[in-house]
Symmetry: C2
Subunit: 413 residues, 2 copies
């Protein structure tokens, strides 16, 4: 049983946070495109960023900021232009954005983090941004989470938001999160972005460790199209406003906080996979029996990312041969004669030997999972056992449909 409960309020559910989202004129569509998250006090800040060699200017900036000082008070995020592959000028634009936010909030610009999402190779429309910043500051509110969540999306069909609450030393501690992403890269829109707020009192070092592990078990375990973005950013603030005893070393309370942080990240990550471009269902792959968690996750992610598995699920075809083939090429050694594959409750391969199964019923199981890309009852479960090891891991993806191709081919820069 989970040690926490779901609450409303998103990133403004934890105490001491305000958020806002406005239309600054950055997106051609005229939809909201500028978000701001603000902590009443300086918050511990941890970040996990893209591993790509081609990094957006804002990613370079945030990494440097967080290396110099592991705290922050504000996160500005624009949608419309990714500010990636924009050279020196792109970096100067990010710097100017941070300074403008610092001035408007009357805080040091060193406490401002910046994220961007949109078309790669395009600089931020700075005139629109300059006039937008005072407006987004004025719009800050303790109920502004939904507005912020709506201002960071691009091709997403829905916003992604969650808040959880637990107790530490009998006092409530909350974590909230918002995310955007409809592909690891979007159609010309670079980016998976997620912002997490927390009011726990926790040491910077522990918070960063927790975030890195939670990212591996959530955002790093989803795949829509295998393309890692230039802008991927996960930033988590912890401002201490729960006034619980400080968590400074590993123990039951640190584990509880990390588990809740992981749950927030997994909720957002699954919401991104479910909202994958063109997706009609969420695919959850669980691998057991591997040597360790990393190996298990590697196999799970390879299956979830296989174009052939994804197309088969789109066609509602219980084609376990493709699952076996994807497991085999994951780069993780295992004995073929130990391989077991289940689709839902249907056992299809055991000890490496194909089994007879009710093909019509298995196909019906897949057909049930067509409930639309953002409902919760749309999950196809693939379970794979590769041996007798204790390592297990999960990954999430979505099916590959005509619409994925349409979305990514018909868009013209």
């Amino acid at each position: 049983m989970a040690d926490w409960q779901e609450i409303t309020g998103g990133i403004t559910a934890p105490r001491g946070y305000q958020a806002a989202g406005i239309t600054a004129g950055l997106k051609p569509s005229g939809l909201p495109d500028l978000a701001l998250i603000f902590s009443d006090v300086e918050a511990i800040a941890a970040g996990v960023f893209t591993t790509s060699q081609v990094k957006a200017a804002c990613v370079e900036y945030c990494r440097q900021r967080l290396q110099a000082k592991q705290s922050a008070r504000a996160i500005l995020c624009n949608a419309g232009q990714a500010n990636a592959a924009t050279g020196t000028q792109g970096y100067l634009d990010t710097l100017e954005s941070a300074m403008a936010v610092g001035q408007a909030l009357n805080i040091s610009s060193e406490s401002v983090l910046v994220a961007s999402t949109g078309v790669i190779g395009q600089r931020i429309k700075m005139d629109a941004l300059r006039s937008g910043i005072p407006k987004v500051v004025a719009a800050l509110s303790q109920t502004g989470s939904d507005a912020a969540a709506g201002a960071i999306i691009t091709t997403d069909l829905v916003t992604k938001s969650i808040a959880l609450e637990t107790t530490i030393s009998d006092r409530p501690v909350r974590i909230g999160g918002i995310a955007k992403g409809s592909g690891m890269i979007h159609p010309n829109m670079a980016t998976m972005l997620a912002f997490v707020t927390c009011d726990a009192v926790v040491s910077p070092h522990l918070w960063q460790q927790m975030l890195a592990r939670a990212a591996d078990r959530s955002f790093n375990s989803i795949t829509v199209d295998g393309d890692t973005s230039t802008n991927d950013s996960l930033i988590a603030l912890a401002n201490g406003q729960s006034r619980t005893p400080a968590i400074t070393e590993w123990g039951a309370e640190a584990e509880k906080l990390e588990a809740m942080l992981t749950a927030v990240c997994q909720h957002l990550a699954k919401a991104i996979a479910r909202d994958g471009e063109g997706a009609t269902c969420l695919i959850e792959v669980e691998v057991t029996g591997a040597h360790d968690e990393i190996s298990a996750r590697q196999i799970a992610k390879t299956i979830a990312g296989s174009s052939l598995v994804k197309s088969a699920i789109f066609g509602r075809d219980p084609n376990w041969g493709r699952i076996a083939a994807a497991a085999g090429r994951a780069g993780v050694p295992f004995e073929q004669e130990n391989l077991q594959i289940k689709l839902g409750d249907f056992l299809m391969l055991e000890n490496g030997q194909p089994l007879q199964f009710d093909r019509a019923a298995a196909s019906a199981y897949l057909k049930k999972a067509v409930a639309g890309a953002y409902l919760q009852q749309d999950t196809v479960l693939i379970s794979v056992n590769v041996g007798n090891g204790h390592g297990s891991g999960k990954a999430w993806g979505c099916d590959l449909s005509y619409d994925y191709v349409r979305i990514n081919a018909e868009y013209t820069t």
Copy 2:
């Protein structure tokens, strides 16, 4: 300038080879499905096989055979059933196939190699195979290359075949090849298969080394959907019937032979990428300035395999941002400020800075490459420079179209 010329005859162009392809009743479609390649004398045999942990029975068999004895006289190949993930019985089926061919040809079964392609998880239809073997032996002929090439294909739209000739010590030496493949895995059809014949006199050790390098520069550098098959096999015979001086160590003649072998493999590999499921064009990616050839190829392959790059090319969209993003996530370190990207002759990014370019003309360049998936004038060229290193490498792929999804979703097992 190439040191060789193209000739007709495919795998029966080199002296001392016969081939055949017949309909044995293995494919539901009733199309030819059983091929045999035969060398008049025992030939040096080298093989490169799938790296997947899930290997077809025939792959296990061929690896063992070639480890025990690096020569062969016959290769039997069936299409229709991949004989992968078929357990112990699948292995026994392969053994029985080899013995039946050995008997029919009156040679040792240890000189018979076996390959299969088709649906994963299905055993070969052994009754049909047993009655087909005498027929395919009877059909062997010195002009049987096209028949064999036609009997190994599955979802391929065209057969793939080539023959080249050079001179060694003033005598002609020939290499012929046939291949099948329309995806690294096919829609339920496992497999890339290629068979190469050569009449050079060459030592087994050198021949295997040449083949491994040629495979890296050809078949291992193509991607249709990133899915490595359970059945991938490349087998090359060299039967010495050119009666040229034996090539037993590295030197000018060994290099000449390897260059021609590489050209044969690259021709077949490009033919597979061009015939990729749903493809409307061939994409050639050339990466220069890397530290070494392997790094360059890794970047090239990542770009050629990116779903977003592939969808953009299908939409004829000169979207260089996706090329930059794919290069960045290839796992090869480089400095972003050295990155240069060209699409055809259009320079789009230089020293990491985006350039102005004629967007309409670039799109027109892409639109020229719609000439159908199996013509030669359909190539989109992407050139990427990542620095000042001397490593360069190429990879080939195809675009991602609605038809890829249709082919892989609508098929029902």
